[in-house]
Amino acid sequence: MSPKTSVEFSVAQDRAPVLHARPLAGSLVVWAEPAARFRALLIGTFGATLTANARFARESAGKAVAYFEGDDALAFLSACAGRQLVGDDVRVGDDLAHWVAVLRFAAEVVVQQHMLPGVAYDSIKRVARARWQPVLDETERRRASALGTAAVLDTAAVLDTAAVLDTAVAPGARGARPPAAPHPVVRDSAEIFADALETFVDWLVRAGAPQPPARLPGDSIHARWLAALRAPDGTFIATRAEYESLAAQIEDWRRPVVEARASAYRLCLRIEEPAGDDDASERWNVAYLLQSRGDPSLLLDSAHAAKSTPLRRELLSALGRVAPLSAHVDGSLSSDGALPTGFELDTAGAFDFLTGDASRFEAADVGVILPSWWLGKDAKARINLRAKVKSPKFSAGGVLNSGAFLDVDWSVALGNDPLTASELARLAKLKSPLVNLRGRWVHVDSGELRRALERAKSGSARTLTAGEAVRLALGATVDGTPAGTTLVADGPVGDLLARLKGERSLEPLAPPPSLRAELRPYQARGYSWLHFLTRAGFGACLADDMGLGKTIQTLALVARDWEEAPGEPVLLVCPTSVIENWNREAQRFLPGLPVVVHHGSARERGAQFAKLAESHALVVTGYALLQRDLALFEKVRWRGVVLDEAQNVKNADSKQAQAARALHSGYRVALTGTPVENHVGDLWSLMEFLNPGLLGTAASFRREFFIPIQALGKPEASERLRTLTGPFVLRRLKTDATIISDLPAKQEYKVFCTLTREQATLYEAVLRDLDATLDESEGIERRGRILGALAKLKQICNHPAQFAGDNSPLPGRSGKLARLEEMLEEVTDAGEGALVFTQFAEMGALIVRRLQARFGREVAFLHGGISKQARDAMVARFASAAGPTVFVLSLKAGGSGLNLTRANHVFHFDRWWNPAVENQATDRAFRIGQTKAVQVHKFVCAGTLEDKIDALIERKAALSERVVGAGEGWLTELSSAALRDLVKLSPGAVEG
């Protein structure tokens, strides 16, 4: 059937090369198993530039190794971070993955600046090296010992290889000096780890360092060392005597730090409120404690420390260090030999301590324990500004828009209780910002209080828009309001807030009458939610799991809009691969709705565009055109703009994102199936499109949310972000209890894809060949030619590289493959499993190659060439939690018999045209043991023979069983005219 009979699989998982790595004396040594064509492997996986920067060596057994250093080594490790596979199919070894984890730890050390300059002798290069060395604190030491004793470091393979490598390294002698000591050949895992950590810290500190001016030979040893510390490469010239004297001096210099780090305790100050409730008592106490570095919750008081000589020494030396920083500490040190317990402060002194001294103490490695009300953790003890929204003057039944102006009463409150006039008067006269109010100590920032009072006094002079009120209520600041400003509202505004926050459910909205489908209950809720937010003037992100019907919810909104206000179209922007899908879905669910696809070379580009757009409810276009035809789109007053697969605008600086933000429209909606909360970095751009300004500037977002959440793992930052964005994002999961009961156990979808230009050109060429031979041949020859041409057309629909069989690059050449990648990204992001069936083993190999390169994770692949034993192992691995999440199967090898219920998505990449065969394949996932709803996605290239045959089968379901069951033979029985009609390419099948 296929013109290619012999198939070579580039992907055979049991033979996939594995990459290993090992930091060694300032380099990262990289090797592969099997080692054949190692350099080509590196170029194919990491690119020619990075590979060109590596040094290569070959050890005796024929194993090639590469050495990366500095920025190159970091680039190499970064490329492996979070991936099981690099390139198409190169496996990241467990050891390499461990080094990435160590690098992550090193980065945390560097963030906290826990490093000091040092020096080391590189016995391989025989040169002195200035090095940035970690100086770990107690917490880090514990983490280091866990990382340093990982089993992967202990494996004999690593040690053996290291031993071989240590002796095999080619000496890259520079400024040759005799080695200070012979390099140890076999070291234990702790040493290997310590060396690696030091190397990584050194690289990170140097990352991107500018090349300093060359040093003069006459420069002092210190000048040479100082220059080397700031250079991309740390090596410098030193005589042995110079090196040894420098090393001794560095040790001497570091002594204060090392001694402080070595101590098991640190000084800790705890400020204690005056006893009693009255203002009169102003005796605050600061107690001296020793805090265990290993267990910071362990605190020893001075009396305890006095009983032991080492503890006494710890406390005394810490107090001695701090005395120059604080007159209070200095004053507490007597000359009578007794150990002090602390010092006392008045209220003004306590305030100074809380505001200034505490942070200076912390910078000097002194722990400070502050009252919780000071740290703002006790909301009841906070003075804050309150905005009480008066009911806006508009008639009942109207929709409160985010632009509506609201009158606001401002007042000052302690926690939730407004303060009386006399209390306020007392606050205004305060000498010290600490005050005992209603029996609790509170901190009153005089500047903030003044601003709050001014606002409170100005009364109704200052109004807020409803949008500002919402932001305030969600925790953002508006126009310089102090942090912690609260908003109280009843009436329509309170109602709006309650609904936004999900505290009050939305009234379900009746679906538009023209909708030719039943909305499931959760879809009706989603549609009502979209309607509510867009009507209130807010942008909405519908982020439902794939398969929950974002399309139909959106189409229902569009139809309702059109019925309400015909003449105001909605612009829908989506990836090229799904344009046709939207068109078909609209026709299917809303047959009367005027929809126009703005796509392809025949699209309207002239003055008529605005008129054309305004006569359609929905204009569908692709992201590429959004930017190219922006001038055209700007001429239309859009009712709304909808971005499908909104992760396409995740980069705020991209032309697409800028174009999307530039469009004027009544409302904005984003659709995505990926869990937005997992992609914090992408959220700003998305929200800037939906609700501009909500998350501040890109820079402030990075500072306040992205870095704290991604790099520092601050839960309170995530929580604040969730509060801010939550009202504008709706994400339902298939597994939600309320959803799962609404879902059928199996749903089938057609996924209509477009051809790329390359695919269309090839397709037309095959048609011309076929056309020429159709009338000339007959009988067996005609049948053969038809079947051959059909096979070629199907291959082209799959991918040009399958048709050519030339192992050429894959991205950007096939609409189907692009769509598969997009959909699988959502599936795997949601932690679900998928089966991908194709009838062509060659195509299976291409799919595996592309998916592995894109996702960096193993993709299982079952085809006819796999032994039964290997197949069983593969099936078992797919069933395990740590195994691959995507399984590609050739229809023949995997279409029956297997139990693959880990997957709840089934993709039919190409079609067998026999529902029975397809269903049998689908049943690998849809069978006993399946706990989730199964979604079946059948890929069809719109406007091609695939589309026409699909329609034919749909129309004649009965016929298909009988006639089509035999395969594709029936096609050869068609008349030439019918056949030409079947295979011809319809307009709109090709991307623009």
């Binding site: 001497d252 605190l299 970095g681």
Partner: protein
């Protein structure tokens, strides 16, 4: 910096010393050597000897980097100073080492004073240390030229000569950095200093809050959480380490490296944010 000053007398005849690249240069470019009282006190010992112009020459040598090597050891100092001849001159300064018994007496005197022992443990030397030495009957600083034996291999018959003076100034700076080097020169090894300073366990003040208990603070609110945070102040460890012994470069260490710390935090933060562990 250069040029002949008015009022210099030219005896002994001034010979230009050979220029040294990368010698030990005094950190204080003008004014007094050493800022702490004990360093000044050390310099005062030298300046009490009435050396005249040899003092200013010695300062110029110290600032110009003519001292090419220097080592402190129990009982004294050895140094090499580049003069006008091709080979540097050897300089030695020797002081009397205290006996173990004398050190014991000093230790007892120090321990009786909480403030003094706290400051010393922290690497500071309060002025009342001299009283503790006096109480033990052994002054910390040499009182006269007799307690100090100096020698130099230069042809100048005057002792101390300008070479000895240069070394003296540099040592003053070094004492500034680490006062316990004074103890080392007086015969107490660096490692023994902490033991000397630690008073035996005694009693605490009779405060009202004394309970002598180990507290477990459940509502701990300090910064030692599991999460990491960029430091509020850059290059704290660099500041903590302090001055570098006998620094020999024109650039200041802290000034040159503090920006590296600040940049490194930015780089590492960005790396962490972009490579969040997706495996977990």
């Amino acid at each position: 910096m250069s040029g002949r000053r008015n009022g210099w007398d030219d005896w002994p005849p001034r010979t230009k010393p050979r220029r040294v690249e990368g010698g030990i240069k005094a950190q204080t470019k003008r004014g007094a050597f050493g800022t702490r009282w004990w360093a000044k006190r050390w310099i005062a010992v030298l300046e009490s000897f009435g050396l005249g112009t040899r003092l200013s020459r010695g300062r110029a040598y110290a600032r110009g980097g003519q001292v090419v090597d220097i080592a402190l050891e129990p009982g004294g100092v050895r140094a090499a100073v580049q003069g006008s001849r091709s080979k540097p001159y050897d300089v030695t300064i020797r002081m009397r080492e205290l006996t173990a018994r004398e050190w014991g007496a000093v230790g007892t005197a120090i321990s009786a004073n909480t403030r003094l022992s706290a400051m010393l443990l922290a690497g500071e030397m309060p002025e009342d240390i001299e009283a503790s030495f006096a109480a033990a009957g052994t002054p910390l600083f040499p009182k006269s030229q007799h307690e100090l034996k100096t020698a130099c291999s230069c042809p100048d018959i005057s002792n101390p000569c300008k070479h000895i003076a240069a070394v003296f100034y540099l040592i003053g700076e070094e004492f500034d950095r680490d006062p316990f080097l004074l103890f080392v020169v007086r015969g107490l090894p660096r490692a023994a200093v902490t033991d000397l300073l630690t008073p035996p366990a005694g009693k605490a003040h009779n405060g009202k809050r004394e309970n002598g208990n180990v507290a477990k603070d459940a509502n701990r609110t300090d910064t030692a959480d599991a999460t990491i945070a960029p430091p509020a102040v850059d290059a704290v460890l660099l500041q903590k380490a302090g001055r570098f012994p006998f620094w020999r470069a024109d650039e200041e260490l802290e000034e040159a490296l503090a920006p590296v710390y600040a940049r490194a935090t930015g780089t590492a933060l960005a790396w962490l944010a972009d490579h969040r562990d997706s495996a977990t």
